[in-house]
């Protein structure tokens, strides 16, 4: 029996047992589709987080007061005590380091903003002119701490705040009151929406000196630093730590987090998550494989007399093994391809429904899904096909 005839004959069999075949194909297809869609979601989430995190800056380092209990764990630093404050002087020292392109000291607080008969609580960032480029924010209009105006009482409004307070008039040049002080609106931020849970549309930015007066403090909340190049991140980190140690009388009481390290951690966690999800989906493929085996065994039982007849008219054991094997391969193959298409279609629907989520199944997942489906189908059919091939012809013929 030729290979083509084997494939054709088994394909015809698959087609004639329509319902049975559809059910197996569906089981296979759903398994593969689950792998494709779930990894698309997983990888989409990973890319989403990474894009968001990348968008808050480039080659970014953040200095925070306090020492991580165990090195590398920034959580400890965030939650830990603050033995010694970061100061503007520290920030200026860091600014002079060779690997540092620019730095922005940062204070954050809440204050009441009032103007044009409106009043609301806003988040206030105090910093210098570098904050806007370092944090990848953009000014839609105006400027912030333009050269020569550094000491003026100026304020930049988030896009939403500007719209709320000055819906019909130009915001720039307007006077507003923040806490007890008066500021002149010098700029308006471009709307960005939320990134990493922080909405720059609803903040205001004032010069760091005014912020420290407003919040009555001399210490800094953070220092943001942009390294010159990607390769400068690690040397910059070491230099910053050394500088701060010196300025803090030899105490290592600050922590430097790099955007890169956090990004890598996120990447690792989310990749592991995607893999785990793919693994769980793959279990459904194993279930589909068991289904194939079960259905093939039932088929052999139902077609025992037919197997006997084939032997009587001269089929070899090999012919019969290959016929049943090919039948299972068809079922798995059609199921796998259908599942792949279904998965791609599902991912497309996801992307259309959630445009922020880049739900593209990674190529490895699609390939692995199809291969696992084929492998389980093929493996699951080996035993039944062998069993069919070994049937005793006379006994098989006698069965009705």
């Amino acid at each position: 029996m030729t290979l083509i005839d084997t494939l054709q004959t088994s394909f015809k069999t698959v087609v004639s047992y329509r319902i049975r075949s559809l059910l197996i194909i569906l089981a296979m297809a759903l398994g593969v589709a689950a792998v494709v869609i779930l990894t698309a979601i997983g990888d989409g989430a990973r890319n989403y987080v990474i894009n968001q995190f990348s968008s808050i800056g480039t080659n970014l380092l953040v200095v925070l007061p306090g020492r991580a209990e165990t090195s590398g764990s920034f959580l400890g630093a965030v939650l830990g005590q603050t033995p010694r404050d970061l100061t503007l002087k520290d920030a200026q020292l860091i600014g002079r380091l060779p690997y540092v392109r620019r730095y922005a000291p940062l204070n954050v607080g809440e204050a009441e903003l009032s103007a044009a008969n409106r009043l609301r609580e806003v988040t206030v960032l105090g910093s210098n002119a570098n904050l806007i480029p370092i944090r990848h924010m953009k000014l839609a209009q105006g400027s912030f701490m333009a050269p020569g105006t550094e000491n003026n009482a100026q304020i930049v409004l988030g896009a939403k705040i500007a719209r709320e307070f000055f819906p019909h008039t130009q915001a720039i040049g307007q006077r507003v009151r923040l806490g007890d002080s008066r500021f002149l609106v010098s700029g308006v931020l471009t709307a960005q929406g939320e990134t990493m849970g922080f909405n720059t549309d609803e903040i205001v930015i004032i010069p760091i000196d005014f912020a420290q007066t407003l919040f009555n403090t001399t210490s800094l909340f953070r220092i943001l630093i942009e390294a010159k190049n990607h390769s400068d991140i690690e040397p910059a980190k070491r230099a910053i730590l050394a500088t701060l140690k010196q300025s803090h009388d030899g105490e290592e009481d600050t922590t430097v987090i790099t955007q890169d390290a956090i990004l890598a951690t996120f990447d690792k966690i989310l990749q592991a998550l995607t893999l785990a999800v793919a693994g769980i989906a793959a279990i459904s493929l194993i279930v589909a494989g068991i289904l194939v085996m079960n259905v093939m065994l039932i088929a052999i039982n139902q077609r025992t007399a037919e197997i006997g007849l084939l032997k009587a008219i001269g089929a070899t054991s090999g012919d019969i093994r290959r016929l049943f094997f090919a039948e299972a391969v068809w079922l798995s193959l059609v199921g796998a391809v259908l599942g792949f298409l279904l998965g791609q279609f599902g991912s497309l629907l996801l992307r259309l429904t959630f445009p922020q989520l880049p739900a593209w199944a990674p190529a490895w997942a699609s390939v692995a899904g199809i291969l696992v489906a084929l492998a389980t189908g093929v493996l699951a059919s080996l035993f039944p096909a062998n069993r069919a091939a070994r049937l005793d012809a006379v006994k098989a013929l006698g069965k009705k």
Partner: protein, 227 residues
């Protein structure tokens, strides 16, 4: 030429041994027309299965066309079945999901014949057995006589030298059975060896040689002198 020498076939049923074929010696020349009769359980089907290479004797020699069958491999046996032997069964054994034409085509597919040649042979067979109108019908849509004609067409499509028919008319009424017998006898007239197992004395008497079996032994073996 079929030559069986001291053939034994024993089935073990629990702790009881059934001697289905008991020291059988039998020679059937090419082109003979033989009927095998005997009570139920006398070993007729077992004899036919061994001649048709579907079953193997527990002891004894079997030569087919001067070739010793007893130590051939499974695949060699399959090839001989494919090329030299045609089976016709009482219950037709057609594959229900295939059409009449496809059922007839099966042995050709197994032999690896290219599709164009298969088509020609199948069309010839359909014509020879007056099945053209039924070519694309499935067995369920055929009458008993038509089904057995399809089965005979399938058994003869490879132009075997031996036709083995195990109660070919057992599921047919008398008249249709007679027609089927005429078809089988026509094959014999063209030189094919024909061995028919039957319970029907009248049909059995049409054969030129009649073998009577009982308890796994050949009791009678007579030539019909009318021929």
């Amino acid at each position: 030429m079929i030559r069986l020498t001291d053939i034994n076939r024993i089935f073990q049923m629990g702790d009881q041994a059934v001697h289905a074929l008991n020291h059988i010696d039998l020679r059937i020349a090419s082109g003979e027309y033989v009927s095998v009769m005997g009570p139920s359980g006398s070993g007729k089907s077992t004899l036919l299965n061994i001649i048709g290479l579907l079953d193997k004797p527990d002891s004894g020699r079997y030569e087919l066309d001067d070739r010793l069958i007893t130590d051939l491999s499974e695949d060699e046996l399959a090839q001989i079945r494919r090329e030299k032997i045609g089976f016709v069964f009482q219950s037709f054994h057609l594959i229900p999901r295939l059409t009449a034409a496809e059922n007839i085509e099966l042995p050709l597919i197994l032999s690896g014949m290219p599709p164009e040649q298969r088509q020609i042979r199948v069309n010839d067979a359909l014509q020879a057995f007056e099945l053209q109108q039924r070519a694309h019908h499935r067995p369920a849509e055929l009458s008993g006589g038509q089904r057995q004609r399809v089965a005979i067409a399938r058994a003869t499509i490879m132009q075997p030298s031996v036709i083995l028919a195990d109660e070919p008319t057992g599921n047919l009424d008398h008249q249709i059975g007679a027609e089927v017998m005429l078809l089988l006898e026509a094959l014999h007239h063209r030189g094919t060896t024909l061995i028919v197992v039957t319970h029907d004395r009248e049909l059995g008497a049409r054969a030129h040689r009649q073998i009577g079996m009982r308890d796994g032994r050949i009791l009678t073996d007579q030539d019909n002198d009318t021929h």
